[in-house]
């Protein structure tokens, strides 16, 4: 099935890519997708985006069709045909 991944912020700069379409097997979970991306983009992707134990890193938000995955069961969430996944930084105000 086809899904789309969109990158914002430092991840976009790191990958030098705004978005990409991917073909993934049925029943692929979000974690499965991130692991696949990690194989392509290497350790720096893991370091920025998620902990291999299955947790999104602090300061990063991952949404599926606009909804934060924390509300969708987290990284175990199964993806569906046509899902749009966005990986975005999340900044907190300063002084």
């Amino acid at each position: 099935m086809k899904v789309k991944v969109r990158y914002l912020g430092p991840i976009r700069v790191m990958l030098n890519k705004k978005e990409e379409g991917l073909d993934v097997p049925q029943k692929t979970t979000l974690l499965g997708l991130l692991e696949r991306l990690a194989k392509v983009y290497g350790e720096s992707f893991v370091k920025e985006v998620y902990e291999p134990k299955g947790k999104i890193r602090e300061g990063i938000v991952v949404t599926i069709n606009g909804t934060a995955v924390g509300q969708l069961g987290g990284l175990k969430r199964q993806l569906n045909e046509g899902d749009a996944i966005t990986i975005l930084p999340f900044f907190a105000g300063g002084g």
Partner: protein, 619 residues
């Protein structure tokens, strides 16, 4: 006493009287610094109910507990406090740079300034020498010219200056204080309080050492903290900087656009952090002792605004960009630069201009009022010119200099319905219609519309809660965040570093290493709660009721028109659920008044008369 100087400098600019008072370990342990010192000093030194421009309204500077030490990202932070001319309640704003550390080296932790000088003056603190200097020649000058002139006049480039620009002189209600060229104590109009005293600046030079209690232990901890600061938890701040939030907020449909008429901006890419860094950023720098370096200095290379230079963050980018329908970063950079030079809060000024643009498009004001400006959304040149008109109170700028609340009251014609403020303070860069935990944080924020007292957008955007749902359980979340932020703003630690800390226990350990004063994590947490309650008492004393814990009408009536948050708004029923949950968590009455037993537990029993008076007036 370690780190703390234990000294409070009282200056009366009416007659030049200067007194130094002291505080002891118990005061330090109870109120920590920054927020705690500021609110405590304000409530104790301000006669209840006076006007913000009354000479007796004290303008207070308070240093963070670890200011002037090697603690990373915390070495020069300070807060400024007074009764706010915007909210007529608690005014507080924080800044960094190098000014704060200099004050501690000069030998003071707190400055309390009262009175009104007969002619413009500035305060010159050179260790024990404290003088009022003639400021006639710098009155009417920008913050930059003021800082440079004072340094030149006194013959020392290392003097640190916290100054107002023309905005503060003209009592613009969103006027701020600028120090170290780019750093602002921005919110709640404290520059106007300084201006009302005919005080142009506070210049400081210090030569004393700051001694800490356990230097070796502190060195070891700081080495580790510096390493953590360089790690992944803070990398985003030094790469693209906070302006990268533009696309994040836009993707989540919480980007305030065209005065909250929308929550997504079609031109977001063009004002994004990504675009900024590729085309405008010339330097990335940090504050004294900073290991993160978040300041993105941008310069316009060509065109109408060629040469304009400013430190660019998400909030002012939102305010002068999407909020005004402007998709040109050159104009955004120029507007931020002008705000710094004139000394007006870049967030509030942008929000005011967005409001003015809607007034213009609705025919409430016209080109005659604006001095010929076609103030439509998206008119970048007109937007930058409005910054000047507001700071100088020219044309319709004189009305908008009163802030969104004051201007809407003067303009009428239904403009109150789209005046985006809470407690008189302009909204900031989160469309809380689709962020209901944040909506509660904003409604109860002690300094009016604000994301910085609570950071409650975090659980909403991070997906820890359903951001579209109002539930009572958001109360404890907001309360915990507020108390935690009180401690961050008392130590004062940069909030960008919050991810590196291992909870209250580690911060308490740091506090003891620096000050030698025993502190446990739990005690620090209670101190945060104490500060939140003291701030509430101050605001109640100045007139706050449950009715004041509210949101702008547009947030409560107009659903977000598009994007992933389409249809969301905060109804009165939602707000009531949220407020009930918050008051309950705090142990307050359903009118939002602290109870005597809690005050006693928080060592605030001395202030029980405030709630007693409240109960009596109700009866």
């Amino acid at each position: 006493m370690y780190a703390y100087t234990g000294k409070i400098l009282h200056v009366n600019v009416s007659n030049g009287n200067v007194k130094t008072k002291t505080f002891d370990d118990e005061f330090a342990q109870t109120y920590i610094g920054g927020t705690g010192f500021g609110i405590k000093t304000l409530i104790d030194n301000q006669k209840p109910g006076i006007d913000a421009f009354d000479p007796e309204n004290p303008l207070i500077y308070a240093l963070g507990a670890v200011c002037g030490t090697m603690v990373p990202c915390a070495a020069s932070k300070f807060g400024v406090f007074a009764k706010s001319p915007q909210s007529n309640m608690l005014g507080e704003a924080y800044s960094t740079g190098a000014w704060g550390a200099e004050l501690r080296h000069a030998g003071y932790d707190i400055i309390v300034i009262k009175g009104k000088a007969k002619k413009p003056v500035y305060l010159w603190i050179d260790d024990e020498s404290v003088q009022l200097m003639d400021a006639s020649h710098i009155w009417g000058k920008s913050t930059l010219e003021t800082e440079e002139t004072i340094k030149k006049d006194l013959g020392d480039q290392y003097i640190r200056v916290s100054a107002i620009g023309q905005g503060g002189e003209n009592l613009v209600r969103v006027a701020c204080l600028i120090n170290d060229y780019f750093r602002a104590a921005g919110r709640t109009g404290l520059g106007a309080v300084m201006g009302s005293k005919n005080l142009k600046a506070v210049a400081v030079r210090g030569s004393n050492d700051v001694k800490v209690a356990s230097p070796s232990d502190l060195q070891e901890l700081c080495r580790d903290l510096y390493e953590r600061c360089k790690g992944p938890k803070t990398s985003k701040y030094r790469t693209l900087g906070t302006a990268a939030n533009v696309l994040s907020m836009n993707s989540q449909a919480c980007m305030p656009t065209r005065n909250f008429q929308s929550a997504t901006f079609e031109g977001a890419e063009k004002v994004s952090g990504e675009y900024l860094n590729e085309n405008y950023v010339v330097k990335i720098q940090g504050c004294t002792s900073c290991a993160m370096r978040c300041e993105h200095i941008a310069t316009v290379p060509e065109g109408t605004f060629k040469g304009a230079t400013a430190r660019v963050e998400y909030e002012p980018t939102m305010a002068f960009g999407p909020y005004c329908g402007v998709d040109r970063l050159d104009a955004v950079i120029r507007a931020i630069e002008l705000s710094n030079l004139y000394g007006v809060d870049a967030i509030s000024t942008g929000i005011i201009i967005g409001f003015a643009m809607e007034c213009f498009e609705k025919g409430i004001i016209n080109e005659k009022d604006t001095g010929g400006l076609a103030l439509n959304f998206g008119n970048a040149e007109a937007m930058t010119q409005m910054v000047e008109k507001i700071a100088l109170r020219q044309d319709v700028g004189n009305i908008f200099a009163e802030g969104v609340k004051g201007a809407s009251e003067k303009l009428g014609h239904g403009s109150e319905e789209f005046a985006m403020h809470i407690k008189g303070v302009e909204m900031t860069g989160y469309d809380v219609r689709g962020l209901k935990t944040a909506a509660l944080g904003y409604a109860v924020s002690r300094r009016g519309a604000d994301h910085q007292r609570h950071g409650a957008y975090g659980p909403d955007l991070g997906g820890q809660v359903d951001r579209f749902k109002a539930e009572k359980n958001r109360g404890p979340i907001v309360m915990a965040n507020e108390d935690n932020y009180c401690i961050f703003d008392s130590m004062i630690l940069c909030k960008f570093s919050r991810g590196i800390w291992k909870g209250y226990d580690e911060i308490a350990k740091l506090y003891t290493m620096v000050t030698g004063i025993p502190m446990k994590g739990k005690e620090l947490q209670v101190a945060g709660e104490r500060m939140s309650n003291l701030a509430r008492l101050y605001n109640i004393r100045e007139g706050l009721t449950r009715k004041g814990d509210t949101l702008p009408p547009r947030v409560m009536k107009l659903p977000i028109p598009e994007g992933v948050a389409k249809g969301s708004f905060v109804s009165q029923q939602d707000l009531d659920i949220l407020l009930d949950g918050y008051y309950e968590a705090r142990g307050w009455t359903n009118e939002g008044v602290p109870k005597p037993e809690r005050l006693k537990a928080l060592k605030l029993a001395d202030y029980s008369n405030i709630i007693k008076k409240k109960r009596e007036s109700k009866a």
